[in-house]
Subunit: 359 residues, 2 copies
C-alpha cells in the first residue's frame, strides 16, 4: 500500500523493528538512557532549550495539556483558527472553562497576522494565544513566524499546535518565542502513533504555577519530576519510545535542512501534478499551501468516496477524505510528510491519472 494520509506516516522497516524489541523496565536504567537521548534529539528538532515532555497519548491530548497546564477557568484566550484543528484547540479551551475569543479565517486561507494584531490591540484582557501552525484539514500553513512577532510584541503566552508541521516545516521554538509547542510521533517523526511531545518555556512554567484548570494524567509538573530520573510518571508507550530513539538518529543523519527541503520539493511536485490533472487546490493561495498535506477540491461531477475507494482497491493508494461535517466530500487530501519519496508521489499522481477519467 502507498499510504499517503496526513498521518500516520509509513515508517521505515528498521524503525518498525526497533519498536518490536522486547519490553524493558520503564523504571530501569535502560529506559532512562533512551529517555535522555530522545529528549536531547527532540530539543534539536524543536530548536529549543526548553523542557520537552513526552506524553503517552496522541496530539489532541497534547493540545489539552497545553491549555490545562497554563490557564485557569475564566482566563481569556485568543483561538486563531483556519480549520478543523484550530477549531479543536478552541473546543478544548472552552471545555475547560476558558473565556474564548475566536479569530476565524475563511477555510482555505491562512490567518493575516495583522488581524491577530487588531484583536490583541483591542482586547488587552487576552492572556494567551492558541494557533495551529499547519492546518491538516485544509492544507494551509500559517506564517507562524509573523504571528509570533505580533503575539510577542503584546507579551502574550503563545501555544502552538505544530502536530503536522514539526520536523517537516521549519519552526524555531526559541527563536520565535513559542511558549508551548506540541507535536506527535506519527507525523514528521516517522514513528507509529502513541506519543506526543510538548515543549514548555520558562514563561509557560511560570503560568503553570498559577493555572488552576484541573489535570492529572497530563500534568506538566508530574512529568518534569519524573523526567529528572529518566522516567515518565505513568507507564509510557515503551515500544514507541524505542522506535523514536532510532527515528531521531535517522532524522538527524539526514539533517533538518535536507528534510525541510525534501518536504518543500515533494509538496511542490504534488501541487504541480494535481494542477496538471486539471484539479484545483483547496488552498486559496499557493504561497501558503502546506508542505505536509495537499487538500484538493473534489470536482463537481465526482464523489469523493468513490474516488478514494477506487484508488485504494485498484491502485493500492490510500489518501484521506475531508475531515468533519464541513469538509467531508468537499476535498480529498494527499499526505506528504515524514517517510516520503518522489516515487511515492509519482505513484499517487499516476493512480489519480488512471482513475480520474474512469469513474
Amino acid at each position: 500500500m502507498n499510504l499517503r494520509v496526513p498521518g500516520p506516516t509509513p515508517c521505515p522497516e528498521e524503525i518498525l523493528q526497533s519498536g518490536a524489541q522486547q519490553m524493558i523496565n520503564h523504571r530501569g536504567p535502560e529506559f532512562a538512557e533512551i529517555m535522555f537521548r530522545v529528549h536531547s534529539g527532540l530539543q534539536k528538532i524543536f530548536q529549543t532549550e526548553n523542557d520537552i515532555l513526552l506524553l503517552t497519548a496522541s496530539g489532541t491530548a497534547a493540545m489539552e495539556a497545553a491549555i490545562v497546564n497554563t490557564l485557569s477557568p475564566g482566563d481569556r484566550i485568543l483561538g486563531v483558527t483556519i480549520g478543523v484543528f484550530g477549531d479543536r484547540f478552541c473546543q478544548v479551551a472552552e471545555a475547560y472553562g476558558a473565556d474564548l475569543v475566536k479569530l476565524q479565517s475563511p477555510l482555505g486561507s491562512a490567518v493575516d497576522p495583522d488581524s491577530v494584531k487588531a484583536v490583541l490591540e483591542s482586547d488587552p484582557a487576552i492572556k494567551a494565544v492558541a494557533i495551529t501552525h499547519n492546518e491538516t484539514s485544509t492544507g494551509v500553513t500559517n506564517d507562524l513566524e509573523a504571528v509570533c512577532r505580533v503575539v510577542k510584541s503584546y507579551d502574550k503566552l503563545l501555544l502552538v499546535d505544530a502536530i503536522s508541521s514539526l520536523g517537516c516545516i521549519p519552526l524555531e521554538t526559541d527563536g520565535w518565542g513559542c511558549d508551548v509547542v506540541m507535536t506527535a510521533s506519527q507525523k514528521g517523526f516517522i514513528v507509529p502513533p502513541g506519543l506526543a511531545f510538548v515543549s514548555v518555556s520558562p514563561r509557560a512554567w511560570a503560568a503553570s504555577k498559577q493555572a488552576t484548570m484541573p489535570r492529572f494524567y497530563l500534568d506538566f509538573s508530574r512529568h518534569l519530576n519524573s523526567f529528572q530520573r529518566g522516567q515518565t510518571p505513568w507507564t509510557p508507550a515503551v515500544s514507541v519510545f524505542m522506535a523514536l530513539d532510532r527515528a531521531l538518529d535517522i532524522m538527524l543523519d539526514e539533517g533538518m535542512s535536507a528534510i525541510y527541503e525534501r518536504h518543500a520539493r515533494l509538496a511542490r511536485m504534488t501541487r504541480e501534478g494535481i494542477k496538471a490533472l486539471g484539479l484545483e487546490l483547496f488552498a486559496q493561495n499557493e504561497e501558503y499551501a502546506s508542505n505536509t498535506v495537499t487538500a484538493v477540491k473534489v470536482p463537481a461531477d465526482l464523489e469523493a468516496k468513490v474516488l478514494l475507494d477506487t484508488l485504494r482497491t485498484k491502485h493500492g493508494v490510500v489518501l484521506a477524505g475531508g475531515q468533519g461535517p464541513v469538509m467531508e466530500g468537499k476535498v480529498f487530501r494527499v499526505g506528504h510528510l515524514g517517510y516520503v519519496t518522489e516515487e511515492d508521489i509519482h505513484g499517487v499522481l499516476q493512480a489519480l491519472e488512471l482513475t480520474l477519467p474512469r469513474i
Copy 2:
C-alpha cells in the same frame, strides 16, 4: 533478560512482530476491522456486554476517564484504598473537585467488605465508589466480588481499577455489577503499553450525561461516537492495536480458565519459593496475596537497591522496587502476570538464592 516487573509484561515474539507491521489508515476499513474484532475479544475477557472504549494512554488516564465522565465537582465519592494505586484513584478524584471520603486499610491488607458497608450505611450522600481490584504496590488482591455485593446493595456507581488484574485474575464485570472497569495493554494482555480499555455500563452512561467535570481527550461520548464507525476520535496507537489483535487470539486460544489457573499456580510457586528462601511476604495474609505480583519485605540487613542491581547485572533478572516514598526500600516486587512460565519463576528464585547470601 528475565523481565519480572508488574508490567510491562514481556511479550511473545509474534505479538511484537504483529506490532511491527506497516502503518495503515486509522480512518480506513482495515483499521475498522481490527477495532471491531478487538472490541469483541475484550468483551469476552471483561465478561461484559457493555461498551469498551479504547484510549491511547496508560492506565492512569483510564482512572481519570472513569472519574471525569461520571462525576461532577462536589459529588461525594468513596475511595477505597489499600496502597499507592488506591491513593492515586483518590488523588484523581480530588484533582477534579470530587468530595472524597477515603477508606484506607493498613498497607499489606485487603479491605474488609464490612467496613465499606459501614461507610455507605453512615453516609447516604455517597454517589460512587472507586476501588482497586489488585493493588500492585503491596501485592494484595481485594475480594472484589464481596465489595461489589455491598456497593450494589446500596445502589452506588462502582468504578473498578482492574489494571493489574483483568485477564489474570477472575473478574465478572456484568455478573458483579461493575459500572466502569479499567485496565491497560501491558499487564494481562501481553501487549506493549500504550492502550487502556474502559468498560462502561448503561448506568455509567446515564451518569455521564449528568457529569460536568471537564473532559475532552478522555470524553466517553466522543469515543463511542467514533466507535460506531470503527474508529477512535483521535489518532490511536495503531501498532499497539495490531499487537492486541494478535494477543487476544492467543489469550482466547489458551482459554481464560487456563490463564487464571496459570496465574494462580505461578503465584503460589513464587510465594512458596520466597518463603523457602527465608524471606517474608508483604501481604499480611496469604489468602489475599496477589496472583499477579508478589511484594516481598526487604530484610533489615539488606539494601533493596543493591539487591535489585545485583539481580539485574549478574543474573539478568529484572524485579521492581517499592513504589512511592512509603514503600521504597521496604519491599521488592516480583511480577508474574501476562507472559510468564514456571521457568521464568524458577529463574527468579534461583537468582535470588544465588544473590541473597553474597550481598
